[in-house]
């Protein structure tokens, strides 16, 4: 594997960086996080229909750009840098799920609208247990009717399409995992936005009472496909996280050069310098893992599942440590609402546990390695 980005990828990064710097300044993040919707539909249209970002990893036959997870990772990283508020992670993960499980005709029907950004989609996997493994899925599917509760659903309140992962109990007593498609406004589906500490990312709870659903991809067990989907989701999030972490390193170094105490810039104290050097080390190591995992996804590397665990655990710990140190180095001002540090701190915290916290991923890493 050539461990570097090519010229086109560098160009994509430059385009994305400019777009998000322009559309997602902190003032805009602060405005959107206070809204119920949580995103700006005009910017979403520009991002999808003009720049084609929503089409990135969708194959060309389904109206996508046919690019790889490396390009998708670059976009995640640049969004994470500015805390861009939009249902991009939700939609990209839902698209991945559809690409992994659906039949050709289902893909032809569903993916083009996702690629153009005209339909927002989300994947509903996790439930009130707060567990990230497939064991915890209880929501039941019987004769294509869904009953149960999904929690921690990204942007469920605005999703046009909800891909629901459900447990199917068979007459034999056995049970399997299946993917189902539900419209966002389906009768019997109640959607509630839950209160989160990170209001730049909207999470919802979905209650299903006898909701009619369509099975995706046929009747076989789809547990392995779920695991593969979640691995790719974790890699996407890891890339988003390293973007945010890099932003905090930059901000910290800038602040340490400006802030004067005891007659000198606080950045001239080794106590501060050494923290900053460690922050840089943290973010660069986490980047290496996130990039390597993206590139492995792009080349279907058999080691991919382990790399997903590694990248997510590494990014989670790095982002959180960096956020805590950034706040610490800012001192009192860092704890105020007006200072921007808390926006990234909260994103770091929610991302640390979303799709599984570091100890979950470390355990899975060893379990997968050992067998």
């Amino acid at each position: 594997m050539q461990f570097t980005f090519n010229e086109e990828q560098d160009q994509l990064r430059a385009t994305a960086q400019k777009f998000f710097a322009d559309k997602s300044p902190t003032a805009e993040v602060r405005r959107l996080m206070e809204t119920q919707q949580g995103y700006d539909p005009v910017v979403w249209t520009q991002l999808s229909s003009e720049l084609g970002f929503t089409a990135t990893h969708i194959p060309e036959v389904y109206g996508g750009l046919g690019l790889s997870y490396t390009e998708l990772g670059i976009l995640f990283e640049e969004m994470g840098r500015t805390l861009f508020c939009a249902p991009f992670l939700a939609t990209a993960v839902a698209a991945t799920a559809i690409m992994n499980v659906a039949t050709e005709s289902e893909k032809s029907q569903l993916l083009p609208d996702i690629a153009t950004g005209t339909r927002i989609a989300t994947l509903a996997v996790f439930e009130t247990s707060g567990q990230w493994g497939s064991d915890s899925i209880k929501l039941s599917a019987k004769n294509a009717r869904l009953n149960g509760t999904k929690r921690y659903v990204l942007d469920g309140h605005i999703a046009d399409l909800v891909i629901v992962v459900a447990r199917i109990n068979h007459a034999s007593g056995a049970d399997t995992i299946g993917f189902f498609l539900v419209d966002g406004d389906a009768p019997g589906l109640t959607r509630r936005t839950v209160t989160t500490i990170d209001s730049t990312r909207k999470l919802t709870q979905l209650e299903f009472v006898d909701v009619s659903a369509r099975r995706l991809g046929g009747n076989h067990d789809q547990e392995a496909k779920l695991a593969a989907t979640l691995d790719l989701a974790a890699i996407g999030l890891a890339n988003e996280m390293v973007g945010g972490a890099q932003h905090l390193v930059d901000e910290t170094v800038k602040y340490a050069a400006e802030r004067i105490q005891f007659g000198r810039a606080i950045g001239s104290f080794q106590a501060i310098k050494h923290k900053c050097a460690d922050m840089l080390l943290d973010v660069e190591m986490a980047k290496s893992a996130a990039y390597y995992a993206s590139m492995a996804a792009a080349s279907s590397d058999p080691e991919l599942p382990v790399l997903a665990n590694l990248a997510k655990a590494s990014a989670s710990e790095a982002y959180m440590r960096i956020a805590a140190e950034c706040l610490q180095i800012h001192g009192g001002i860092g704890f105020t609402w007006d200072n921007d540090t808390h926006l990234w701190f909260k994103r770091a915290k929610s991302s640390e546990v979303f799709f599984g916290d570091p100890s979950y991923h470390k355990e899975q890493l060893i379990a997968r390695w050992h067998h």
Binding site: G267, A277, L281, E284, M285, S288, A289, Y291, A313
Partner: protein, 424 residues
């Protein structure tokens, strides 16, 4: 046209080396005989100037020569120890008399060299050296102490950094000398480390002498010359690892080469252990059953993350370099990452070995190997620049953070220092 020219040039060179080797290579000759031929022909160090045992070969073409040597397992010039650091320094800063006196016997391996920079009072702050060189009208008189000197006990010559001017600022009062180690004013004592090995020496100078013609470059320019040596130290550390692999070849010259390698590598035999031996962790965890312990599993996963991200970060740096892109910050982070890996590996080995972590040698796990890891790892975050110095470098040079106010400007005489050396 240019690439075609390049290819022709490469093929001509390849034929030339091949022909020379066919005519001259003889595995039954002695190491010194063969290396004398290499030095005289210029094929030993072809990128050196043709005036000084080289062929003025562009660096980019050197791999072709190395390939041809490797193809028939021809032995190279002596690259071991710090010989090549000495050679590179003399080549760049020495005068013609020094070059003709020293270079040939460096390449043949007849002379062994050591580096006399670090002192008990100046470790991280190398330029704070207080070993003194005073000119008595006919020669330089050396007094002081050096430390961490590999190979000093069998070295013929030393690269000495000593203070010649106490009124000048710290970096400007140093001069660089070649010192003859075989004299009564030089005494070498092994320095026993906490892990029981003695890979290094302490060197004491009591009115040792250096002839005026052994000053390298001019008086007061020693720091600049020392920087050249240190720059090559980093490069040759990488080269060393690839050179000394026993290929199990038969013949007089190979036996002599093996002996030379064994002597040079002896001090480094514990180096894999100081890096933490991550390679042993998984196997040990399975053997001991600790792989089932969830706390140990978390710690092993953490170690795998640290080790692999460090490896990938190094690969990113190399990939960027190969593409001719400016090296990003990832390049300067490797040493700090290696310290973190070693420290955590030591912790994980302790978790896996449990109470046996207290035991060494034949009583200990893996016949003492685990014990050696646990008591060698602390060297990693100190040797070759402490973690704290690395963090200063990263903060100031990579992140561009403001410098610490200096306390060591002005005449060196007035700068606060550690007390001088105790008598040997």
């Amino acid at each position: 046209m240019a690439p075609l020219m390049g290819m022709l040039e490469a093929e001509t060179l390849r034929n030339e080396v091949r022909l020379w080797l066919e005519t001259n290579w003889d595995p039954t000759s002695s190491l010194i005989e063969w290396r004398t031929k290499l030095a005289e022909s210029g094929w030993g160090m072809p990128t050196w100037p043709s005036q000084w045992f080289g062929k003025d070969l562009p660096l980019a073409l050197n791999p072709i020569v190395e390939e041809e040597f490797a193809r028939i397992n021809a032995v190279s010039v002596s690259r071991s120890g710090i010989r090549l650091l000495a050679a590179a320094t003399i080549l760049e800063h020495g005068n013609d008399a020094q070059k003709s006196q020293y270079l040939r016997r460096i390449l043949t391996g007849e002379d062994t060299w050591c580096q006399l920079f670090s002192e008990p009072g100046s470790g991280s702050d190398l330029a704070g050296a207080i070993t003194r060189a005073d000119f008595d009208g006919t020669q330089w008189i050396i007094n002081g102490q050096k430390v961490w000197t590999t190979s000093a006990h069998h070295a013929d010559y030393g690269l000495l950094l000593a203070r010649t001017d106490w009124e000048a600022p710290k970096h400007d009062g140093l001069s660089y000398f070649v010192i003859d180690m075989h004299q009564s004013g030089v005494s070498v004592h092994p320095l026993k480390q906490m892990n029981g090995h003695a890979s290094f020496n302490q060197v004491f100078f009591t009115d040792a002498v250096v002839a005026p013609e052994s000053l390298v470059d001019r008086i007061g320019n020693g720091w600049k010359v020392a920087m050249t040596t240190l720059m090559h130290e980093r490069r040759s550390a990488d080269a060393l690892r690839s050179v000394h692999r026993d290929r199990g070849l038969q013949g007089r010259i190979y036996d002599e080469e093996r002996d030379e390698t064994a002597t040079v590598m002896e001090p480094y035999k514990w180096y894999p252990q100081r890096a933490g031996r991550v390679d042993l962790v998984f196997e040990r965890a399975i053997e001991t059953g600790k792989i089932e312990d969830p706390v140990v599993r978390q710690a092993i996963a953490e170690l795998m993350i640290k080790a692999r991200t460090a490896e990938w970060t190094a690969r990113r740096a190399r990939a960027a370099q190969q593409q001719g892109r400016p090296q990003g910050p990832e390049g300067s982070l490797g040493k700090l990452a290696a310290s973190n890996v070693a420290r955590h590996a030591s912790k994980v080995h302790t978790m896996i070995s449990g109470s046996d972590s207290m035991l060494g040698d034949e009583d200990g796990p893996l016949a003492g190997l685990i014990a050696e890891i646990l008591i060698s790892v602390p060297a990693t975050s100190i040797a070759g620049g402490t973690d704290e110095i690395q963090r200063n470098i990263i903060a100031e040079r990579v992140l561009g953070m403001p410098k610490e106010p200096r306390m060591d400007t002005g005449p060196f005489r007035d700068v606060m220092k550690n007390p001088g050396p105790a008598a040997p």
